[in-house]
């Protein structure tokens, strides 16, 4: 096999895929979010994406906050910087670890579930059936999920921030011997509003990405059960990578002087 041809094929496939994704985003936003709206569907998706992800996000945040406190403490002794534990935990969680880890955990859960559900609908002709019943699949399926993602992920991250800081607090006061009052004061003293809001902006974008990739791969499933399985995997992988890439872009945009 000609290696140039193989490279060419991969590159062309990548471009074709990117083009297809861009067209899908256009339809998802301009058709999916335009009236007519389906409030029941939106509520249902918010419960599935948001409420049902609480345990995962809570546990992730708790352990991450705890580990962060531990690491900063241990590492910080090299610079006599142990006192920074509280503030660094707060900044780290609200700015980065809260949104990104919550995003990745929810991506794993929700992007997969969306891709599986829509993929199954696609291969069993349910999406075609929707069209024959005067219902636009972008408005009925995609729009509510995207809206749910953009709304619920920031809410999840608020909770993750609180639980994460609490995790650090518990480790700090129980294992590392910090004074409870001092720890809390240090947490709040150096925390600025923009630390929290930047995290929320990021999480809204991540929510959009998760719902979008779940819907995209689900809609384009082909070929029965195997196709749906492939779509599920692709949804998780692509949304995770896009979250990390978007995180870099957003961080540089949000924190330029």
């Amino acid at each position: 096999m000609n290696p140039l041809a193989q490279i060419g094929r991969v590159v062309l496939h990548l471009f074709a895929e990117t083009g297809r994704l861009v067209f899908f985003i256009k339809d998802a936003v301009f058709i999916g979010l335009s009236p007519r709206w389906y409030p029941r569907q939106i509520l249902l998706q918010m419960i599935r994406m948001g409420y049902n992800s609480l345990p995962v996000v809570g546990l992730t945040a708790f352990f991450t906050g705890g580990v962060l406190a531990l690491q900063i403490y241990i590492g910080g002794t090299r610079f006599n910087a142990e006192s920074l534990v509280a503030s660094i935990v707060a900044l780290g969680i609200t700015r980065e670890l809260g949104p990104v880890l919550a995003g990745l955990m929810v991506a794993g859960r929700v992007a997969a579930a969306i891709a599986a559900e829509l993929g199954t609908m696609r291969v069993t002709e349910q999406i075609d059936a929707l069209v024959t019943l005067s219902t636009n699949p972008y408005r009925y399926l995609v729009g509510p999920r995207i809206l749910a993602g953009v709304i619920t992920l920031p809410l999840l991250v608020v909770i993750a921030d609180i639980i994460g800081i609490m995790g650090g607090y518990i480790v700090g006061t129980q294992s590392l011997g910090f004074n409870a009052g001092a720890y809390l004061k240090n947490t709040v003293d150096f925390l600025q509003v923009q630390d929290v809001t930047s995290g929320l902006v990021k999480s809204a974008v991540f929510g959009f990405i998760i719902a979008l990739m779940g819907c995209y791969h689900g809609f384009h499933s082909r070929g029965g059960a195997q196709g749906v399985g492939r779509a599920t995997t692709n949804a998780v992988v692509s949304s995770s990578i896009l979250i990390l890439a978007a995180n870099y872009v957003l961080t540089s945009l949000l924190f330029t002087e």
Binding site: T124, E125, Q126, A129, T132, L133, S134, T135, Y140
Partner: protein, 277 residues
Amino acid sequence: MSHSWSSKQTIGTPMAASGSGSEVHIALKGLRKAFGRKVVLDGVDLEVKRRSSLVVIGGSGTGKSVMLKCIIGLLEPDGGQVIIDGEETTHLKGRDRDRVMRKFGMLFQSAALFDSLPVWENVAFGLIQGRGMRRRAAREKAIETLAKVGLGPEVAHLYPAELSGGMQKRVGLARAIAHEPEIILLDEPTTGLDPIMAAVIDALIVSTVKEVGATAISITHDMASVRRIADEVAMIYQGRIIWHGPVSEIEHSGNPYVDQFIHGRAEGPIRMQLTKG
């Protein structure tokens, strides 16, 4: 590739049995559709009379489902025309497409019921979403429609996964006719059903189509079904209609391809598709 034996018969007199007039409801002219390099429809010409029941037969992979989807507008053909009620609908989009699609009801091959909704909400879906009916009124209409397909109200709150194949098809049929469409499309309505259930579904198709006064186009491989539900039969082979006539003449078509198909002979002029798609 041998070329099709073109003995297309013209329909002279209207069908006495179905009482349909000779007015053309749906016409296909030179319909073409290819997927990549594979040509599925290669110039399909077809006329379907108002309130008649046409059954399209042909081997697997010959484009019957694709043709049905082009008629209803789920797929856009590459060439040719789809004409419904004298209006060309081939490339309609948006609101115009929505308007035309409301004339249709479609029963999909595996019923394609919405798994997350109970039976009544499936049947009422087109009424609630399409016609903006209130939920309570729609539920009543749904239960009425379920009765028409021989299902009692106790089925209304079950979920599709709890139903047998035959019941799923009946619910699918109910969903397709709930909004009283002018045109009903049926994609292999009896495939996968036992012979008795198949006969039940066929009887339902005949009675509901007559009751609603709709024009019906069905696809099937089941020759027993054909004889029960068809007024006219058309056979598709290699992307073209090679025979079209009243169901009474199917045994005397004079067309060797038709003969081989309806008698299910392995030997004959038909070259079967080996690969799918």
